[in-house]
């Protein structure tokens, strides 16, 4: 276990805060928009990693918490006129509670059955929300422009959203590091290696799995609210994209599952690569195919991801790369 005073513990959090501060100081709208998306994916990938990387449970529909939390927070802002930070917090709490309830049922499934169940949960949530009138049914909801007045105009509201996003993502990374370095986290890693053995050794697996599931659902809920507030509208097609769920898995795998720094590196690399390909005339039509080929190569030849590969080749870096 790594102690809190070692470099590896603080490095990912420090990177996130420094990155956010640099964009804030620059004050350019274009740079902020670019960083917003990247930081959002870092936050989502890090929270997925708490479940996927530590307990080894493959959640294929993790984006459901982004959607449900986002819908809840958005509803509170649009209909009940809550302020953004409170609504975002509520979105996260609702996501975590839903995860807690769902976990009672689906966390008893293992391996591929769990993965299938999470796909089912996402599709069920999407089709339910599409029919749920209070949430606007299939057309979704949108914010009245006057909402932005209480934050001092739309421009300031966007900067506020950005600052909150940086704070939330930094906390997600911090929580991920804290869990990994705790006794609780050790229990999760034991579940990943062999759940039955962990149970015999005194890890209370149902409780540990549920807490991990709730923790990994909380941050997507908050991030969802921030994202849809920035967009100004929310609809089922945007909120529950199975595709995005799988892209998150790719980011975690690319960076290195079960590491704190991995999701950060993976999200930035994947998004950077996608952004480059979408704009280059050569790869524009083939970006999905190229991303697939890259994913295939990683899965087949570098299953430990970027961080795992670096740790293997440069033993000295092991202290710094958590």
């Amino acid at each position: 276990m790594k102690r809190w005073y070692q470099a590896g513990f603080w490095l990912p959090v420090a990177i996130m805060l420094a990155w956010g501060a640099a964009v804030w100081a620059g004050g350019e709208d274009a740079a902020r928009e670019k960083a917003f998306t990247l930081i959002m994916f870092v936050g989502l990938a890090s929270s997925l990693n708490i479940l996927l990387g530590y307990t080894g449970y493959v959640s294929f529909g993790h984006i459901v918490f982004f959607g449900l939390g986002g819908y809840m927070g958005f509803y509170l802002m649009a209909v009940c006129a809550w302020s953004l930070p409170l609504a975002a917090l509520a979105g996260g709490v609702v996501s975590a509670l839903i995860a807690g309830l769902l976990g009672l049922a689906v966390l008893r499934l293992r391996g591929a059955y769990f993965a299938l169940a999470t796909i089912g949960v996402n599709e069920a949530a999407r089709s339910f929300v599409s029919n749920f009138e209070p949430f606007g049914g299939s057309t979704g909801m949108s914010l009245n422009f006057s909402v932005y007045q209480q934050y001092g105009g739309a421009g300031k509201a966007l900067w506020l959203t950005f600052a909150l996003m940086v704070a939330v993502t930094a906390s997600a990374v911090l929580v991920s590091a804290m869990i990994k370095n705790s006794r609780f986290g050790l229990g999760l890693l034991a579940i990943r290696e062999d759940e039955d053995a962990a149970m015999v050794m005194g890890v209370r697996t149902p409780r540990a799995k549920t807490i991990a599931y709730m923790a990994s659902a909380f941050f997507p809920g908050v991030i969802g609210t921030l994202y849809f507030f920035k967009n100004g509208n929310v609809e089922p097609g945007d909120a529950f994209q199975l595709h995005m769920s799988i892209e998150l898995l790719v980011m975690v795998m690319l960076g290195g599952q079960g590491t704190v720094l991995g999701p950060l590196l993976g999200a930035v690399t994947y998004q950077g690569m996608r952004g480059y390909m979408l704009t280059s005339p050569l790869f524009k039509d083939l970006h999905l195919a190229v991303a697939g080929a890259v994913l295939l190569l990683i899965v087949l030849f570098v299953p430990a991801g970027l961080v795992g590969w670096l740790r293997g080749y440069f033993p000295k870096l092991r202290r710094a790369l958590e």
Partner: protein, 281 residues
């Protein structure tokens, strides 16, 4: 009466759903891999049958679709699946999903995402008040035929028995002189062949795009879970249940509630009876 017609209509489509799910189920049963490229292969099957039916008789075109699917399956198995067959689930899930992305990516670039429709009609069968489109009867009939052939193959031929032995215990089968790699590759290729054929049959009934496969893939997951993962006959039953739901429910509820029911049932069965409706508890 209206309900009966809708039910019949739904059940006929259900046979095709069952056929598609059978491919997924076979692959899971033999190699414990969830094939996430299933939908993409179905979509390719749709395009292949689009090209083939306009030139040849369906009796020639549809077997060609199946053979195309099987060859594609061999390729996918060799490139993507073989290396991760003993790795944790995440690896095989992601490897097959990567194949899915490659197929959809190239397919979008080549075919674009505009919808297509096969202009083929097999007449209409009239039984009193009931009118059934010939393409649906044809598709259901083909599905039943293929199921029968698959069962004959798995239970009566040497290669089929080898596949079942490998599904039962890969290592023991290897020690008995069966080549596990051959059986695994063969079953993967049969699984994708079924997917392509089901795609080809679906294409005779509904318009499609290169992205249509994913809808049917998710349906196949639901069906596999209803019937029990790894149980091909259960998959056919699950297909009929799903087809029945899709046929009957819209007669008394808005169509948009159908997926809510389907996925609710899916999660319920997965949690309460993970072995499927036919399986042991």
């Amino acid at each position: 009466m209206r309900i009966l017609i809708s039910l019949l209509d739904g059940l006929l489509i259900g046979f095709v759903y069952g056929l598609s799910a059978m491919g997924l189920s076979l692959i899971w049963g033999v190699m414990k891999v969830i094939n996430l490229s299933h939908g993409a292969v179905m979509a390719l099957g749709m395009f292949f049958s689009y090209a083939a039916i306009s030139r040849f008789h369906p009796g020639l075109a549809l077997p060609a679709v199946a053979v195309f699917g099987m060859l594609l399956g061999l390729l996918i198995y060799g490139v993507a699946v073989h290396r991760v067959i003993s790795a944790p689930h995440l690896s095989s899930l992601l490897a097959t999903f990567a194949v899915n992305m490659i197929i959809i990516g190239v397919g979008t670039a080549v075919f674009s995402t505009s919808p297509r429709n096969i202009d083929y009609s097999a007449g209409t069968m009239v039984l009193g008040d009931i009118r059934l489109p010939g393409t649906r009867l044809l598709a259901a009939g083909a599905s039943i035929l293929v199921t029968a052939v698959l069962y004959y193959f798995l239970y009566r031929t040497r290669s089929g028995k080898a596949i079942r032995a490998v599904a039962n215990n890969r290592m023991a089968a290897g020690l008995m002189g069966i080549s596990p790699t051959r059986s695994l590759a063969l079953s993967f290729s049969i699984g994708t062949g079924l997917a392509a054929l089901a795609g080809g049959l679906v294409a005779t009934m509904f318009p499609f795009t290169i992205l249509s496969g994913s809808t049917y893939e998710v349906k196949s997951f639901v069906i596999c879970v209803l019937g029990g993962l790894g149980n091909p006959l259960g998959a056919l039953l699950g297909g009929l249940i799903l087809g029945g739901i899709e046929g009957v429910v819209p007669t008394f509820m808005p169509v948009s509630w159908v997926p809510v029911l389907e996925f609710g049932l899916f999660i319920l069965v997965l949690v309460l009876r993970p072995g499927g409706l036919l399986g042991e508890k």
